[in-house]
């Protein structure tokens, strides 16, 4: 049986994009356009939520996703606790560390890995991760349209993508997709809660179908 939907082989390495981000309801407003942009540009997002096997340890799954993905996007915008007594969130920076180590110590194709680090405000990360000083980081200001621009431009700059639409056009496409996705699914009997809590593979499947239908 092929591992992980058959997208673990070397032939998929250059298309896989590991997504390292928070998975809370507040972040979904950013996660949705992020997944859309990656798929719209012809890449395959790989995310810890893509499968839920109770027999698999989460850290093993994350290491596997990092290993099979040439590209990765790490959103550090939610590292900071926002309420009194709330814990500082470490998962995203921990997974970025695994990604960095994987690339740094590699002696094979894993040396070709490339990553995009996102943050909310410029130089916010310096307060928590000063080891990263000197690396290029993009900030999205928690704005979904700016996030689309960050991701699209990074693929052009770093992955050598050419001949793709501008970020404004991709943002408009995302808006059109969002409307059609909700109206069609509601007509099919999905509730608002079903759509808000939809499993990631189902949601990305709808994006794939929509992008394919748009030609």
């Amino acid at each position: 049986m092929p591992l992980h939907g058959g997208r673990a082989g070397r032939e998929y390495f250059g298309r896989n994009v590991f997504i390292n981000c928070p998975f809370d309801a507040e972040y979904f407003a950013l996660l949705k356009p992020l997944l859309f942009t990656v798929l719209y540009l012809g890449f395959a997002p790989r995310i810890a939520l893509e499968r839920s096997d109770s027999g698999e340890q989460r850290i093993q799954k994350i290491c596997e996703l990092i290993r099979v993905s040439q590209f990765s996007i790490h959103d550090l915008s939610r590292l900071q606790s926002s309420r009194k007594n709330e814990f500082y969130r470490l998962n995203m920076s921990f997974e970025l560390g695994i990604e960095y180590g994987c690339r740094h110590f590699a002696v094979d194709h894993l040396r070709d890995k490339r990553c995009l680090i996102l943050e909310k405000g410029r130089f916010d990360f310096m307060k928590a991760l000063s080891d990263l000083s000197g690396v290029d980081i993009k900030n999205h200001g928690s704005d979904p349209a700016r996030l689309v621009r960050c991701v699209r431009d990074w693929f052009v700059e770093t992955a050598g993508l050419r001949g793709v639409e501008g970020s404004t056009a991709i943002w408009y496409e995302y808006n059109l997709f969002a409307e059609e996705f909700y109206s069609r699914r509601l007509a099919e009997g999905f509730s608002d809660e079903d759509l808000d809590m939809m499993p990631v593979p189902e949601y990305t499947g709808f994006i794939r179908d929509w992008v394919r239908a748009r030609g």
Binding site: A29, K32, P33, D143, P144, A145, R146, V148, R149, E165, S167, T168, A169, W171, Y172, E173, Y174, N175, L176, A178, E179, E180, Y182, S183
Partner: protein
């Protein structure tokens, strides 16, 4: 394929734009969202099309239809 609609969406470069389904470029750009909604509403009434207003995050805020539920060719 759904019929043509006018969408009021956030313009990432500032203000709000009106776009039509099937178009990747904005028809008109406005500083204020309310002005964009007003103009798109007039256009959709003229066209008998749907008006979809989006929120800043791209999700739908409201929809209103000006489509004729029974187009002339279907009337007997």
């Amino acid at each position: 394929m759904p019929g043509k609609s006018h969408h009021v969406v956030l313009n990432p470069n500032g203000g709000w734009s009106v776009i039509r389904t099937g178009a990747s470029r904005a028809t008109r750009r406005f500083t204020k969202k309310q002005d964009a909604i007003h103009w798109a509403s007039v256009q959709s009434r003229k066209d008998g099309s749907e008006l979809v207003v989006h929120k800043r995050d791209g999700m739908v805020e409201s929809k209103s239809t000006h489509r004729d539920p029974q187009p002339p060719q279907d009337r007997s």
